[in-house]
Amino acid sequence: MRYYVTVDGGTENLWLSRRAAKMIREQAIANLRRFRITSGYDYVGLDLDGASVSGFPNLNLAGIERRLRASLDIKAATTLQATRLVVSQAPVSDDTPLDALELVLAVEEGSAFAWTEGRTNFSSVITVDPDARALKVNAVVQDLLQDLMVANSDSIQAVLRKLKPALVAQELDKQPRRKAQSEMAPVDHELLGERLFLGTKASYAAQRARDAGRRSVFSTFEPDRYASFSALARHDLYATMDPDELSGFSDLWTGLLVDRFAEHFLTVDEAVELVRTGSFRRTRQERLEGQGQKVKARTRRQDLAADDLKRVIGDPRIVTADGSYILCVVNRAPTGVAGKLEVEFTNGSPSKRLLNKLTLCTEKRYASMIPLVRKGIVTPIRLFLKRL
């Protein structure tokens, strides 16, 4: 997703100013920095931009699209295909041909704060009631962005790349030439895969919300094609996520992948490839406690030897089931914590020397790594591994 659109329904103020993007992005990234530490999930920031489309009667997606194209704000028309968020007071109808858009979310005025199923092409519609409207709109937009940023991380995308073709093949098998019309509109496999994945994600979120009977900020949470895990993990309308929310957020992501897609997890070779070629944020010392670290760029870890990685990732004593593991890489020569580091990185057998600065943790053991990550000594990399 590259930007959002705010639609002005004709009254004085927009719900979300065109320039709110910068602030929301900062807040979302501040949360994700802490999320990186406590869960090991990485994220990829989005380029955000707002465009305000001045109100006109009977808003529809095609109309908004035309306005956007004409607008000076959006330079390349190709980016219109990217994910998009429409914030509007009035309901937006949809009359674009199916499969034209990857993902569209709408935030609209309603009588309750609810997450409901989308109309036709929409992925989801979030309605916001007038009570505490400014805070609610803000919270929802921030959640959507946070969730998308985490979904863009290399760890998750590596699984999705394997997963989507399988989902598409399954779906096409299910309806064997039921419609000859499909010849007319050739199916975009990439788009279909994305949609199927998001659909599964939404149904998983709905199920989790039902099972737990959990307190949610939404009065109704019935996602149809898209659900933001960050929104589901949210307890209140504050911009900063608390530890509970952070762990809930990571739990939802891990849960979805392990629960629904475990057969598409990475083999040892694929995981080694991912670690060496994917880009991940290297952790740094926190500037202020609880604030996360500021890291500008993600880097590739080609300095790590493939053999060492293979030995660590392919350790049958740790990878006992298809699941989510966290690879911990030592960043720099430790000072003051050498003892602790040695214990953590040699699996408790002090006879061995530091094993190439690498260790693989289960979710549970990662908790003991967090202090080292906080201090910027260890960089965590989330991996979804197949059982050996």
Partner: protein, 443 residues
């Protein structure tokens, strides 16, 4: 001539003054955006008008190369138009001013008079008309006069519009200025008396407030900032989580409770409507201020409008950090739930600049007044048609008000408070000044 018509003018202030925010505005681009926004505002007025036909027939936005004049018959249309225009221009970061008064753009102009004279001269061979033509143009034969009219095709400004231009020149502010004469005529709960600091020859170096009418921005009643405490590091033994003697009542203690707005790292500010607006305006102010320090004064009117459009009823001050919910996060000590503009005005980063702005006491005075009104539920001193005194109020958060006044004093000094106390009653009513004085003198 119907006097209940409304006329107004809007102009990009950057064109008249040196107020151009440094390195920000490209005049040509700004001009195009300006025209586009005027057109958009016209459309919005049209869409929302009760009688679009009459709007098209009777209302106009006309002429002027540097400014746009407009004329509305219906009050509601006028309000829709100027408010929409204001939000569009602020969104685009263009400093502007809008002046509105009563009158008509249909009054005569020189060229109309000359054309009448010419017609008279031809039709009736009127000597007086010929003399007038001779007097004004130096010729009286039809052909030459017509040629002159061909040559001089410039749109000219009409009488009422000229007066309005003069008003535009004198209004050294940023935002909307309604003629004071409209006070009883416009019935909209959102108008209020705003003050503009000006420096006259008589006043010397002292800024004198000039009163005019302004519009509030729409307010979301929950548009507040909440401040959360940093999470304690679970590995750090020095961080014992929340002290044992947690104090839930907001006791009025004068201890050195931390002045939370100073600690900018921990402000948890959602980018709600007004915080974006405040950020935009401060961005412009900073740039304009760099261009020339005098420019700061232009912004006091707009800052006052923002101050008057915020929500203060929920303001909370916590002497100590407090748990918000079991097992959850903690609220930081200091200010909790304050409108974004309060945080911004008192933030340490902004203060040196704000202190230098001439007439800034009017903004702070309005802030004190609005906090008082918000906490007591009374009307603001600036509202139109409510000159009544403060009624008795039960159980209002007096200590919160006290804390706010003290914080403003701590941030801006005693001299500023004295200036605030000297400001007009429409900034801060006399009874409220007395309240402030009581707080300041109690030590």
């Amino acid at each position: 001539m119907p006097s209940t018509h409304y006329i107004g003018v809007v102009d990009l202030t950057v064109r008249l003054t040196s107020m151009n925010p440094l390195g920000h505005i490209d005049a040509r681009q700004a001009n195009k955006s300006f025209e586009r926004h005027v057109i958009t505002a016209c459309r919005v007025a049209y869409d929302n008008s009760a009688d679009p036909q009459s709007l098209v027939k009777n209302s106009i936005v006309i002429e002027g190369l540097t400014a746009k004049y407009f004329h509305f018959v219906e009050q509601k249309d006028l309000l829709t138009f100027i408010r929409k225009l204001r939000s569009l221009l602020i969104e685009d970061r263009l400093p502007f001013k809008i002046c509105v008064g009563l009158g008509s753009l249909e009054s005569s102009r020189l060229r109309d008079r000359l054309e009448t004279s010419l017609a008279d001269a031809i039709d009736t061979d009127d000597e007086v008309a010929k003399d007038r033509l001779l007097n004004e143009l130096g010729v009286d034969d039809e052909e030459t006069v017509r040629a002159l009219f061909e040559l001089y095709r410039a749109p000219s400004v009409k009488d009422d519009a000229v007066l309005l231009s003069a008003q535009l020149e004198t209004f050294k502010g940023f935002g909307i200025c309604l003629d004071k004469g409209l006070a009883g005529k416009i019935d909209d709960g959102q108008i209020f008396f705003n003050q503009l600091p000006v420096r006259t020859r008589a006043s010397g170096r002292v800024w004198q407030p000039v009163e005019y009418l302004d519009f509030r921005f729409p307010t979301d009643s929950h548009d507040v900032v909440m401040v959360l405490a940093r999470e304690p590091d679970p590995d750090d033994p020095t961080h014992s989580s929340a002290g044992p003697g947690e104090d839930h009542q907001e006791a009025d203690d004068d201890s050195d409770a931390k002045f939370a707005v100073d600690d900018e790292e921990i402000v948890d500010m959602p980018a709600t409507g007004s915080s974006v607006l405040v950020a935009e305006v401060f961005n412009l102010l900073t740039r304009s201020f760099k261009a020339s320090e005098e420019n700061g004064t232009y912004y006091t009117s707009l800052l006052t409008t923002i101050v008057r459009s915020s929500h203060y009823a929920d303001m909370i001050f916590l002497p100590r950090a407090r748990k918000l919910e079991p097992g959850g996060r903690r609220l930081a000590s200091g200010w909790q739930k304050v409108p974004p503009v309060y945080v911004t005005l008192l933030a340490r980063r902004q203060r040196p600049m704000l202190k230098k702005i001439g007439g800034f006491e009017l903004v702070l005075g309005a802030l004190i007044d609005e906090i008082y009104s918000g906490l007591t539920g009374l009307t603001s001193s600036a509202s139109v048609g409510s000159e009544g005194s403060d009624a008795a109020r039960a159980g209002w958060a007096a200590n919160v008000f006290k804390r706010a006044v003290k914080d403003i004093e701590a941030a801006y000094g005693e001299a500023m408070l004295r200036k605030i106390l000297a400001s007009p009653a429409h900034v801060l009513r006399e009874e409220r000044k007395r309240e402030v004085l009581t707080i300041l003198s109690a030590r």
